[in-house]
């Protein structure tokens, strides 16, 4: 049995087993912390930072999905600083990525009141839709680089390792080894990446084609 740890979240006392993340501890007392890259069946990568919270005594905001609870910790999930951070993260995302097909992120934009046009005029990430196999397409213009597809393909689920990270900075994107077409990689087309993608970046070919047909009509 693990030792238990007691802390406060938004001034409520909570006792959870050692090693629990702040996000899980918060959820246990009904405080929902927003997440994007986090998925309960994957190792949290702490990339999107929308789950950010304030921990008393810490200089920077902390990603609640990975930071474990500590004895006597005081966590605040709805301070102005936290709210601003979340809002800016969403505004920055919206400035470069097409979020039309990301309903959960759209909801967060509504909730935080993020101004999606705040950073209008910045460089948009532009990628051609990759249609290189019989089963799914990859539209990286809609990719927020949450890392879920890479993890689901690696040791969190499939152990196939077809996906990785390519380039750096604004050009960085999910890629295959040397950007090879999917059929030339280790991909077994399980589509577990498609199932876990939070945006429209990965999509089954049947769905993609029927959408295109509808657009033409």
């Amino acid at each position: 049995m693990k030792n238990s740890v007691t802390l406060t979240i938004d001034s409520q006392n909570v006792t959870v087993p050692e090693g629990t993340s702040i996000a899980d501890a918060a959820e246990s007392i009904g405080i929902k912390i927003p997440t994007i890259c986090y998925h309960p069946s994957l190792t949290p990568p702490a990339i999107c930072r929308v789950c950010t919270v304030e921990v008393e005594g810490q200089r920077t905001l902390q990603p609640a999905c990975v930071v474990p609870v500590g004895e006597g910790m005081h966590v605040k999930t709805d301070t102005d600083r936290v709210k601003t951070a979340r809002k800016v993260i969403l505004e920055l995302l919206a400035s470069t990525v097409n979020l039309e097909e990301a309903p959960e992120i759209q909801e967060q934009i509504d909730e935080t009141g993020a101004d999606t046009e705040r950073f209008e005029g910045g460089v948009k990430r532009h990628f051609e839709v990759k249609e290189d196999n019989p089963f799914y397409i990859r539209d990286y213009a809609q990719c927020i680089m949450c890392w879920r597809c890479i993890q689901v393909c690696a040791d969190d689920v499939q152990n196939t390792y077809a996906l990785t990270w390519g380039k750096r900075g604004l050009e960085s994107h999910v890629a295959t080894f040397l950007d090879e077409a999917m059929p030339n990689t280790t991909c077994v087309f399980c589509g577990n990446c498609v199932g876990i993608c939070p945006t429209g970046a990965l999509k089954g070919l049947i769905e993609y084609r029927s959408e295109q047909k509808k657009e033409q009509e």
Binding site: S41, Y136, D155, N159, T186, V188, S210
Partner: protein, 748 residues
């Protein structure tokens, strides 16, 4: 795209029983997801479940009942591939014809002149009704299905040794395994979602895997040890492992004493079966056998998973018995993470067997030869039931040829792709007097039928499937069937009612019929029987089934709705279900050790036919190909391939992609060569999905004497350059290695 509705159901492909979310818009499935928080797959799917269910929308779906334009006669039965050969009929006409022709045979030749294949793809409810129809109205136990061609060896052995016939442990336990053996199973291709849990047990929990298989399957890349035995030498290898366990005193003395019998005879039989003896037979180094035996016996918990490589053999029962012996010896059963786990093939092959789709048992393996059990079913069905077990599918083929079987009612299934020695099986089908098929597509078998009844696919009906770990799960309707197609249970219900009416009306015209006694019973009870057949929803069929089947009694549709799935045995409504079995005892009381001697009865290679052939499946296709070749999956692997080891390819001067003729003593096929180290030297592998190069043209119809399962994994063949190259199918002009399906290309 926003869905009109999202319907949760169960995947129609393999025995894992993945839960799927069918996203529907305008009566079409456009996306398949999986719920992340539900067993058995927890959000995972494979290529078939996620991208391969579009066959339901294929233009080739059967939409109306069809009747052959040219009447067929025994011996002159022909193939009718074109729609031109058929005329569309009303349900009324088609069903009347089926009933009239079946009763005609029944009255002339007796009930046993008719047989049925029930269907491991159809629901429990569909299968229960069909076997009930055959036993209680037609009056024969000639009910069987493709389990005969699949895990019959495993079931026969499990019944002999412990009186069980299913996986003992659950899929959910896999992530916590400590040590496990995979033998005769290409798990990553054939149970892809199970393989992801097994891989995780290894990469994240440090579990140790021993693969025992002549082929170097993908799981070998995750294994601590791969023992690559010669084909058909499994019993020698497992006996030698047991020899090591006994000699080194690694066995579980307490378990052996308290829970088994036959130990002393068994260990005597192991005396001479040293690893060195086994090395000479199997080609596996004696030290490898010792190491595997120690790993399995010494683990706190160790499980065995096996597939067709064990079962589909003329020694299928013996092979499985040696695995059971090993588990009993080491006490590796009856606890989490242990067990004897035959990985079932079809989505509902477990359920079809559980529903009584076999010639010797009713639901949940209740033996029909036991009077008390038979009387229970007679009472429930208001009929008198035949007392002798019926024919197995493999025996049926021969009985048609001897003339004792005349009529055939096939629900689903495609025996002329899946039976061994297809030319022989086809000759049998040509001899039939009457053949009715119930299917979603034309296939290689039903093109010989007199009548085809169009049925609904998995997404178009309600019911339950039971997966490989005995979990009963719901199948739900997401879309409408095409045209006039109907769910199987509805078709069988109507046929049964019409048959009852016809018997009541007309049986007196046949006073000398061999079925006279049954006819009288039916005439007496007609009203009750008709009322009993008045099902309005599969729920009612399930309720009837659980009322006569103690292990299912606690499982109701209401519970399935709430809990997602329940593992049988589940004898009461309060019972939580049984993810793992045999904690305290076996259904047989004590587990029995069986002495197994290594024998060599399969067809052996010789100068003329110098290579062994093994058959099996690919990740991207399903069995006879009826579904997958009508889906997106056909694009990635559109043609048959012959796997050959690079050393053999060099020896015969072949290269990747060469067209070759493969022939055995029974037939010949033409296909392209795939050079790969997956197959061992001296043995080739051909998947059996492709009608234009049907692997079962080559296989041997030799059968296991106890389980009646054919020897699919071994026969002797030769491979020569193709005499002529067949016309390309769409997509097959792309070089094999560029299609993206082959992940282990070895340069030729």
């Amino acid at each position: 795209m926003k869905a009109d509705k999202v319907v949760k159901s169960t995947c129609p492909y393999c025995g894992v029983g993945c839960q799927v979310l069918l996203n529907v818009k305008e009566d079409r499935i456009f996306r398949v997801d999986a719920p992340f928080d539900e067993a058995p797959n927890f959000g995972r799917l494979c290529v078939k479940g996620r991208f391969g269910t579009d066959y339901v929308h294929h233009s080739g779906r059967l939409k109306t009942p069809l009747i052959r334009k040219t009447p067929q006669s025994p011996g002159n039965r022909t193939r009718a591939d074109s729609l031109e050969d058929w005329r569309e009929a009303s349900w009324d006409e088609a069903m009347e014809m089926v009933v009239t022709r079946l009763l005609d045979l029944r009255w002339r030749y007796g009930a046993d002149s008719i047989t049925t294949n029930v269907c491991a793809k159809a629901t429990n409810e569909d299968n229960y009704l069909m076997m009930k129809y055959f036993r209680s109205i037609i009056g024969t136990n000639n009910v069987d299905h493709c389990t005969r061609l699949c895990h019959a060896g495993s079931v026969a052995a499990l019944q002999l040794a412990i009186n069980s016939s299913a996986m003992s442990n659950s899929i959910a336990e896999m992530k916590d395994l400590e040590c496990f053996i995979i033998t005769g199973s290409n798990t990553a291709d054939n149970h892809p979602v199970i393989s992801t849990f097994l891989k995780q047990a290894i990469t994240q929990n440090g579990a140790k895997l021993i693969v025992i298989d002549p082929r170097r399957t993908e799981m070998c890349e995750f294994a601590e040890l791969h023992l690559q035995q010669n084909p058909e030498t499994d019993t020698a290898l497992f006996n030698a492992m047991a020899h090591v366990v006994v000699k080194e005193k690694l066995y579980d003395k307490e378990f052996v004493e308290e829970r088994t019998e036959g130990f002393s005879d068994y260990i005597k039989s192991l005396e001479e079966k040293t690893p060195e003896w086994a090395e000479r037979i199997t080609g596996v180094p004696a030290d490898g056998i010792r190491q595997a035996a120690r790993m399995y016996a010494n683990a706190k918990a160790a499980a065995i998973y096996w597939g067709m490589g064990i079962s589909q053999s003329v020694h299928g029962t013996d092979n499985a018995l040696t695995l059971i012996n090993l588990a009993l010896l080491c006490g590796q059963i009856g606890r989490p993470g242990t067990g004897l786990n035959p990985l079932r093939g079809q989505n509902n092959v477990q359920g079809c067997s559980d529903s009584g789709g076999m010639p010797n048992v009713y639901t949940a393996y209740q033996k029909l030869t036991e009077p008390a059990i038979r009387q229970k079913f007679e009472k429930a069905w208001h009929s008198s039931l035949p007392t002798e077990p019926g024919l197995t599918t493999t025996e049926m083929v021969d009985e048609i040829l001897t003339g004792s079987v005349k009529g055939w009612y096939v629900m689903g299934e495609n025996p002329l792709m899946s039976e061994p020695n297809l030319n022989h099986a086809r000759q049998a089908v040509e001899q039939l007097e009457f053949y009715v098929a119930q299917d979603i597509f034309f296939n290689e078998t039903n093109v010989y039928a007199d009548v085809i009844l169009p049925s609904a696919a998995f997404a178009e009906k309600e019911g339950t499937f039971t997966n490989s770990d005995r979990r009963v799960q719901r199948v739900r309707q997401a879309i409408n069937p095409p045209g006039e197609a109907r769910p199987d249970w509805m078709i069988v219900r109507e046929i049964a009612k019409r048959t009852l009416n016809a018997i009541s009306r007309e049986a007196d015209k046949h006073p000398d019929a061999p079925t006279r006694e049954l006819d009288r019973t039916i005439q007496r009870n007609a009203e009750k029987m008709l009322a009993n057949w008045d099902y309005s929803h599969p729920n009612e069929i399930w309720d009837e089934m659980r009322a006569v089947t103690d292990p299912f009694f606690g499982i109701t549709y209401e519970r399935l709705e709430k809990e997602g799935g329940v593992h049988w045995p589940c004898p009461s409504l309060e019972h939580p279900g049984s993810p793992y079995l045999f904690e305290d005892d076996f259904p047989s009381g004590r587990g029995k050790f069986f002495t197994v001697e290594y024998t060599n009865d399969s067809e052996m290679v010789d100068e003329e036919y110098p290579l062994f052939l093994s058959t099996g499946r690919l990740l991207y296709h399903w069995h006879g190909g009826t579904m997958t070749r009508a889906s997106s999956l056909d694009q990635i692997w559109p043609e048959c391939t012959v796997e050959m080891h690079p050393n053999d390819a060099a020896k015969y001067n072949f290269e990747m992609g060469d067209w070759v003729d493969v022939s055995s003593r029974r037939g010949i096929i033409t296909a392209r060569l795939l050079v790969t180290k997956r197959s061992p030297e001296g043995a080739i592998f051909i998947p059996f999905h492709f009608a234009e190069a049907a692997a079962n043209t080559l296989t041997n119809n030799l059968i296991d004497p106890r389980a009646k399962i054919p020897d699919y994994k071994i026969c002797a063949v030769k491979v020569v350059p193709a005499e002529s190259v067949p016309t390309h199918r769409e997509g097959s002009h792309i070089p094999l290695e560029d299609r993206g399906a082959i992940k282990d290309t070895v340069p030729g």
